[in-house]
């Protein structure tokens, strides 16, 4: 996949990144605003691409990570600039695992209305969790809804 570089501000630092053989672990705790999300995800995907271990990194992965981070900032941390979002990305030869955790009050992920239902289709919000679950191979909430663990199988080179 050829991604258009947007040269966004990237809050990701090398501190908290570890490279072992052709795999990497990124672990960071950041005070994120919504504006930071696309740049952060672009930085993560660039690091994944630079490993050279995946045939293609699909748009759906980017979408799911951005939705997860947006939800953490907007709904989890309620846009509180003093609250952190923790992100952990670990690559494996045929997959990637991402964990996102906010410092909010949590929520009941089992009660998220289905945005594709007729009574919800015209709503201007509520599609993030649905898109995450649709595009990822695994999406598990824990810690009262504050932590989201995602897994996506990717074709190795």
């Amino acid at each position: 996949m050829v991604r258009k570089k947007a040269f966004r501000q990237n809050p990701l630092t090398d501190k908290g990144s570890m490279y072992i053989m052709n795999n990497m672990v990124i672990e960071q705790k950041l005070k994120l605003s919504l504006k930071d999300v696309p740049g952060l995800v672009e930085g993560i995907l660039e690091k994944m691409e630079s490993l050279g271990i995946y045939n293609d990194i699909p748009m759906e992965l980017r979408l799911a990570i951005e939705e997860a981070l947006t939800n953490a900032v907007k709904h989890g941390n309620k846009l509180d600039p003093d609250k952190n979002v923790s992100i952990r990305v670990e690559t494996f030869p045929g997959s990637v695992q991402i964990e996102v955790e906010d410092e909010g009050a949590g929520f009941d992920h089992g009660k998220v209305p289905l945005p594709t239902d007729d009574e919800n289709i015209w709503k201007t919000s509520g599609r993030g969790v649905f898109l995450i679950r649709h595009f990822m191979d695994k999406a598990e909430y824990s810690q009262g809804g504050r932590r989201l663990k995602l897994c996506k199988c990717l074709k190795p080179k």
Partner: protein, 110 residues
Amino acid sequence: MKITETSQNDILVCQIDEEINIDTSPQLRKAFGDYVQKNAKKIVVDFSGVSYIDSSGIATFIELFQRLKKIEGKFRICCMAPKVKNVFEVTKVIRLFEVFDSRETALQGF
């Protein structure tokens, strides 16, 4: 947000050359709000330059539909890349909008 606006008779054609994400969708929302304020009742939104859209982007189009409905206006979408169209299809919102393969067909009979 890079948007190019042109007019074809009474139709406003708006070409977006930017990703529609959580950072850029507020600007798109404002642009759409301006069109409605100026009483644009027929809008074709050309997606030729759109390589990515997220849920906030989808929301801007639902809002545009609702705002235009209040002034008896409507819009059409054209030239969606398959990956972008997929997001509309997966969320089932594609059935809410008129979607065309090309700008020419979107302008016909509008």
